[in-house]
């Protein structure tokens, strides 16, 4: 089992903070979001900072990054300032 965590702005579209999934890759999760929640949610998910176990998929294999049991995929807002 894997966990999907949503943050603003996608959370406002899918209306949930998290859910469980058995999908096998980041791309599968993106496809699922498109199918389950529509184009707006998909656009928000694609433009988010996508992390697997808190590490950017940019440091792994991008959208092809596989998901293993116990993994958490998060859709974080792209932020800045400090």
């Amino acid at each position: 089992m894997k966990t999907i965590r949503y943050y603003a702005p996608i959370r406002g579209i899918v209306k949930k903070e998290s859910e469980e999934t058995e999908l096998g890759s980041v791309k599968d999760v993106l496809d699922y979001i498109k199918q389950a929640y529509g184009k707006d949610a998909f656009a928000a998910a694609k433009s988010a900072l996508i992390v697997v176990n808190d590490v950017s998929i940019g440091l792994y294999q991008g959208k092809k990054t596989p998901l293993a049991d116990g993994d958490t995929i998060g859709f974080l807002p792209v932020s800045g300032g400090g």
Binding site: P9, D54, I57, G58, L59, P77, V78, S79, G80, G82
Partner: protein
């Protein structure tokens, strides 16, 4: 032309007089930290003790302060840096700067030392210095409550009174945190400076300015960064971003990733503790968090505080973090320097060198210890001197995480090497903002230059150091510059091929940025998409500020600060980082995860027009009008 009027206050005699800034100085340095650096250089001889009788403290505003332009309620403090011995500038939001200006003064220059605690009151142009024995010993909250609510206040707490080297000055709930701003006021026995007035600020072209402000506010509100991300999660939203790229200092900068970062992230802060947003005067961004802890409505921690009272000491308690943030404000202490010094002390204990009763993973006892540091009780007085002093006393220089003596901010430079160069060259010491803040382009923003490559980093660092310097000099919060990355990149996101390609191309644009720096004098345009501050400054002052001359203003200020440091004896050897960052790869399997200062510094000096020892060349100073 209306030039700035300052008050010159002699604490020895408790007398004050008007000090008019000459027009030539105003045109070159404008205000805030750049004008402050010039004045400090001119008004003090070399080698003064920052806490001594001859030290001068400048508290000043900028042309934009209080005009109603976005994010323009800032004021600046310039003084000799208590931690580094070089230049110090500490910037603060809130009401004080606006009300000091409305009271009739663009700045104040503080000389001498009062024998007994005092309050400086500036009301409708009249300055009074009165005794403050009854306030001495009170925290910053109680002290501020002693004055009318409508007054702007700048006060110190027990830490400033006890000359904690990183004591802060507090205004409302905003803080001039860095470099010992509270200590220099405490050394002069100034408990509080209060201001009130109703004078309207000067604006050269009020009608055009009002229209431009409307346009700029709309732009900021429509931009994903300033209109959505910062209001939603505040600066604390960066915890997850830095963690995602291994750029989150963890365990005293030993690592860059914290497995429990979520517990102390901006997302958790927003989900579980946020009551509402708040803001400084005339700020459309509203990044401030109001949170609840122990039944009290308090200011929420910023990113740096989350990073340092969380991952950098391996602590996961958000409640403790909020309490510590509140306590630091009450005592008047910089959370960055304090928490970084605590992390250093924890590592001393881990290595069996010294035990101050603090250890990684435990923030439960820190509230008590923070109070002892603020009051310099017993052995905790050592911790009040900062990590550089501690490392000279106890050893461990290789993991005392400061540059020039000022503790670094919460960005791990081994995953953001341009930020490492920025820390090393920052005039006030290990500061991300004075350092050009390349972390935003390398590891925590939407764009991702190659964070491990030294290519182009010297040029980008010089450019952004100049730009941020100018924005600060003009009187704006640096968050107002967060909209310079085009909104479309936020819409397509950091993983989109176009965004990634731009990041890669930028990594090879060193020559382009160097050419841009050379072309500054001819860049006679202003754009709301790039530096709207330049156009606002032009409309406020009537001076010909355009993108090029605006960034050149920053370059002049940066060199002025560097020149001050040079006079005070800082050298190339001070453009350094601890060995942990330059010698030990963050990832043992990736030798590129170190900061190659040896590669970047010579290029940076050349771009700056400094000699191989990092000293500004005469022709550079002449070109910028710093020296005749």
């Amino acid at each position: 032309m209306k030039t700035p009027t300052y008050a010159l206050i002699d604490l020895n005699t408790r007398a004050s007089s008007r000090y008019e800034i000459p027009e030539s100085l105003y045109r070159r340095y404008i205000g805030g930290k750049t004008l402050g650096a010039r004045l400090l250089y001119d008004l003090t001889p070399a080698g003064v003790d920052p806490l001594g009788q001859d030290a001068v403290v400048i508290v000043n505003t900028s042309p934009a302060t209080g005009t109603g332009a976005p994010c323009s309620s800032r004021f600046n403090m310039t003084f000799k840096n208590v931690l580094t011995g070089g230049i110090a500038s500490s910037n603060c939001g809130g009401q004080f700067g606006v009300l000091m200006k409305r009271a009739g003064y663009d700045g104040i220059i503080l000389k001498g030392q009062s024998e007994t605690p005092c309050v400086i009151s500036i009301v409708d142009g009249r300055i009074e210095i009165t005794d403050a024995d009854e306030l001495w010993g009170k925290d910053t909250e109680e002290t501020q409550h002693a004055f009318p609510k409508i007054y702007g206040k700048l006060v110190i707490g027990p830490a400033g009174e006890h000359l904690v080297r990183y004591a802060a000055a507090v205004s409302g709930e905003r803080v001039a945190g860095r470099c010992g701003a509270g200590a220099v006021l405490g050394a002069k026995k100034i408990k509080a400076i209060v201001a009130y007035g109703t004078k309207r600020p000067e604006i050269h072209d009020r009608e055009k300015f009002a229209k431009y402000v409307d346009k700029w506010v709309r732009f900021l509100r429509g931009h994903p960064m300033t209109g959505e991300s910062l209001p939603t999660y505040g600066s604390a939203g960066l915890v997850s971003k830095a963690n995602a790229t291994n750029a989150l200092p963890t365990h005293n900068f030993k690592y860059g990733h914290f497995k429990d970062a979520h517990a102390v992230s901006g997302e958790t802060l927003a989900d579980k503790y946020l009551l509402r947003n708040s803001s400084c005067i005339s700020c459309p961004i509203r990044c401030e968090r109001r949170v609840e802890v122990d039944g009290k409505d308090v200011k929420g921690p910023e990113y740096e505080t989350c990073g340092f009272f969380g991952p950098n000491i391996d602590a996961v308690s958000m409640e403790n973090m909020i309490r510590l943030n509140y306590l630091c404000d009450s005592y008047g202490m910089d959370t960055i320097s304090l928490a970084s010094t605590l992390a250093f002390a924890m590592e001393l204990k881990e290595n069996g060198v010294a035990d101050f009763g603090v250890s990684f993973g435990n923030s439960d006892n820190l509230a008590d210890i923070v109070g002892k540091i603020a009051r310099r009780e017993g052995v905790y007085s050592d911790l009040a001197n900062g990590s550089k002093w501690m490392s000279e006393r106890y050893g461990g220089k290789e993991y005392a995480m400061h540059s020039k003596g000022l503790e670094m901010a919460s960005y791990e430079p081994r995953r953001s090497v341009g930020m490492g160069l920025g820390y090393a060259t920052s005039n006030r010491g290990g500061c991300h903002l004075n350092g050009g803040y390349l972390a935003l382009l390398e590891s925590v923003g939407v764009l991702s230059m190659d964070a491990l490559s030294t290519s182009a980093k010297p040029a980008f660092t010089a450019f952004f150091q100049n730009a941020l310097e100018a924005i600060s000099a003009a009187g704006f919060c640096l968050f107002s510059a967060q909209s310079f990355v085009p909104a479309v990149l936020f819409k397509i996101g950091p993983h989109h091929p176009v965004t990634r390609a731009i990041g890669k191309i930028a990594t090879h644009l060193g020559f382009g940025v160097r050419a841009l720096l050379w072309m500054m004098p001819v860049l006679r345009f202003n754009s709301v998409f790039l530096f709207p501050h330049a156009e606002a400054l032009r409309l406020v002052t009537g001076l010909p500020f355009y993108t090029g001359s605006f960034v050149r203003l920053g370059e002049r200020g940066y060199n002025m600060e560097r020149f001050y440091n040079y006079r005070e004896g800082l050298t190339k050897a001070d453009d350094s980082l601890p060995d942990r960052l330059t010698q030990t790869p963050q990832d043992p399997n990736n030798p590129k995860t170190v900061v190659r200062l040896d590669k970047m510094l010579p290029v940076y000096y050349r771009i700056r027009g400094w000699d191989k020892d990092g000293t500004p060349e005469k022709r550079t100073l002449r070109k910028l009008g710093v020296q005749a």
